[in-house]
């Protein structure tokens, strides 16, 4: 109990003092996570919407189970795969992205992508099947039908964003492997927590955990406010 209490006190102390190492880790965490999230959304939402909207998609029998499997990929396996691809012996070794934030972004994008596609697809499929006909009757182009459907599915699409964000901000295995936890270069909150735990600094590790949770909460809070503003409870 003493450790937990100290952890909360330490967390406040760290935040108050704005330790440069902590600030570095927080900034890098946000950078890597948000960039990976945006890339996954930009590519994943249109694909998920397309799969959800296309009624007679060839290969649907294979594509959908693949997406669902992708949603459950062990992050550390993704990390290992990314490591092997980006390593000097790997096909993309020339990029020099291993042990850099760029490599970490690649790994996290791979983790987030199936979540975005799968949940967007499900959200779009959940929209009333009469909607396209009604919109066409009101004069919508095919593209407009897709946009309106996506907007109708906004609750589910938002869930996709939130799920993907939650998955990657708390992820540790992949970013540890691909980033290397190098101080000042690739150390994020999660890998810092692992390190402090290994060093036996449990209170500090817990404090970092509290900060990470706070970070996640603040973003999700803002997100939900946006949803409510849009008229969705």
């Amino acid at each position: 109990m003493g450790t937990l209490a100290r952890a909360f006190a330490d967390a406040l102390g760290l935040l108050w003092n704005m330790e440069p190492a902590l600030v570095e880790a927080v900034v890098l965490t946000l950078q890597v996570t948000l960039i990976a999230l945006v890339i996954a959304l930009v590519i994943g939402v249109p694909i998920g919407a397309a799969i959800g909207l296309t009624r007679h998609l060839p290969g649907r029998w294979l594509i959908v189970p693949l997406i669902y499997t992708g949603m459950g990929l062990p992050p550390v396996t993704v990390g290992l795969f990314t490591y092997l691809v980006l390593s000097n012996q790997g096909p993309l070794g020339g990029l020099g992205w291993l042990f850099t934030p760029a490599g970490m972004i690649v790994a996290q994008t791979i983790i987030a992508f199936p979540l975005v596609v799968g949940l967007t697809m499900a959200a779009v499929q959940g929209v009333d099947p009469n909607l396209p006909v009604q919109m066409l009757s009101l004069g919508a182009t095919r593209r407009q039908v897709a946009t309106v459907t996506l907007l109708e599915a906004r609750v589910g699409v938002t869930a996709a964003v939130v799920a993907a964000y939650g998955a990657i901000i708390s992820e540790v295995g992949a970013v540890m492997l691909v980033g290397g936890n190098i101080e000042g270069e690739t150390r994020v909150l999660t890998t810092a927590i692992v390190l402090e735990t290994r060093k036996g600094n449990f209170a500090l590790a817990m404090a970092l955990g509290i900060i990470l949770l706070t970070l996640a909460f603040v973003t999700n809070f803002a997100f939900h406010r946006l949803q409510v503003h849009q008229g969705v409870r």
Binding site: M176, N181, K199, N201
Partner: protein
């Protein structure tokens, strides 16, 4: 039909979960040790004998040195086996452990990229090599995790008259285990301090690294500062929930001449040289 299959699978899973907890005999010894010790494979080779002889199960928790010691302090382990002399003595002095016993030692080496940009191959003393690496601003990878290896590394920097853990671009503080640190060094061509055992065990997966300082085997290690002694300490029974008797039996067993002989030969088959050297009191006075 499907319902019946599902029920069967569920029943099997539940049964497996229930029996998981009580596989072995009566007692459990919780041993906290370091990742490098565990990664060497020594414990996997030795422990079955202990388990059979004393009808017990040894739960090995392999973590960083700091964490292993913290587990001992919290009473979450019965015995600790680490290689950080000063911290071990403090552990006993502060009443967390009953007594410290020598077990074995191994050595550290400095490894580096084949092209050796800092020109340190064959340097006699590790601290001199570090000075050369710093002068050349060659990339150096550090464990950065307060482990026994990291502590040794800091000591060597200080012996060379330099600040340890420098905040500079060529010094990479990884905060990871030995295996990962070596992997990093191999990948980017960096120098690092490693225990010989982990380096040998990783073998072919480190094709671009060579031993720079420390020689081909411990006999050839020219720097006494690179020696790495291990200590075993039973956790003090005052903490409650400690199997003190089993802990003491473990220490007795580990320092016995029979087990020390096994330590002496461990690794010869795989690497042509032993990874550890027995050093217990009974062994020394045999």
């Amino acid at each position: 039909m499907l319902t019946r299959i599902m029920t069967f699978v569920l029943a099997v899973l539940l049964a497996a979960a229930c029996t998981g907890g009580s596989s072995n005999g009566s007692r459990v010894l919780r041993l906290a040790t370091t990742t490098s010790t565990n990664d060497s494979g020594l414990l996997d080779a030795l422990l079955p004998t202990f388990e059979t002889e004393y009808d017990a199960r040894v739960d090995v928790v392999a973590v960083g040195t700091g964490q292993a010691i913290a587990l001992g302090e919290a009473g979450d382990a019965d015995v600790i086996l680490v290689h950080a002399r000063a911290r071990e003595e403090a552990f006993v002095a502060e009443g967390h452990g009953t007594a410290r016993s020598d077990v074995m030692y191994n050595d550290f080496v400095i490894v580096g990229p084949i092209d050796d940009p800092a020109g340190v191959t064959g340097t006699l003393l590790a601290s001199d090599a570090l000075a050369a690496i710093a002068a050349a601003k060659a990339t150096f990878a550090s464990r950065g995790d307060d482990s026994g290896t990291h502590s040794k590394e800091r000591l060597l920097w200080e012996t060379a008259g330099m600040t340890s853990d420098p905040d500079t671009y060529w010094y990479k503080s990884l905060g990871q285990g030995m295996g990962s640190t070596l992997g990093y060094a191999n990948e980017v061509g960096a120098y690092t301090l490693t225990d010989r055992g982990t380096f040998l065990a990783q073998g072919e997966s480190l094709p671009d690294l060579r031993v720079m300082v420390g020689g081909a085997s411990i006999d050839e290690n020219t720097d006494p500062a690179l020696l790495n002694p291990y200590g075993v300490i039973p956790v003090h029974p005052d903490k409650g929930g400690i199997d003190a008797e089993l802990g003491n039996l473990f220490v007795e067993w580990l320092t016995s001449i029979e087990v020390q002989e096994k330590i002496e030969t461990f690794g010869i088959d795989s690497f042509g040289q032993p990874l550890f050297y027995p050093n217990s009191a009974p062994w020394r006075s045999r």
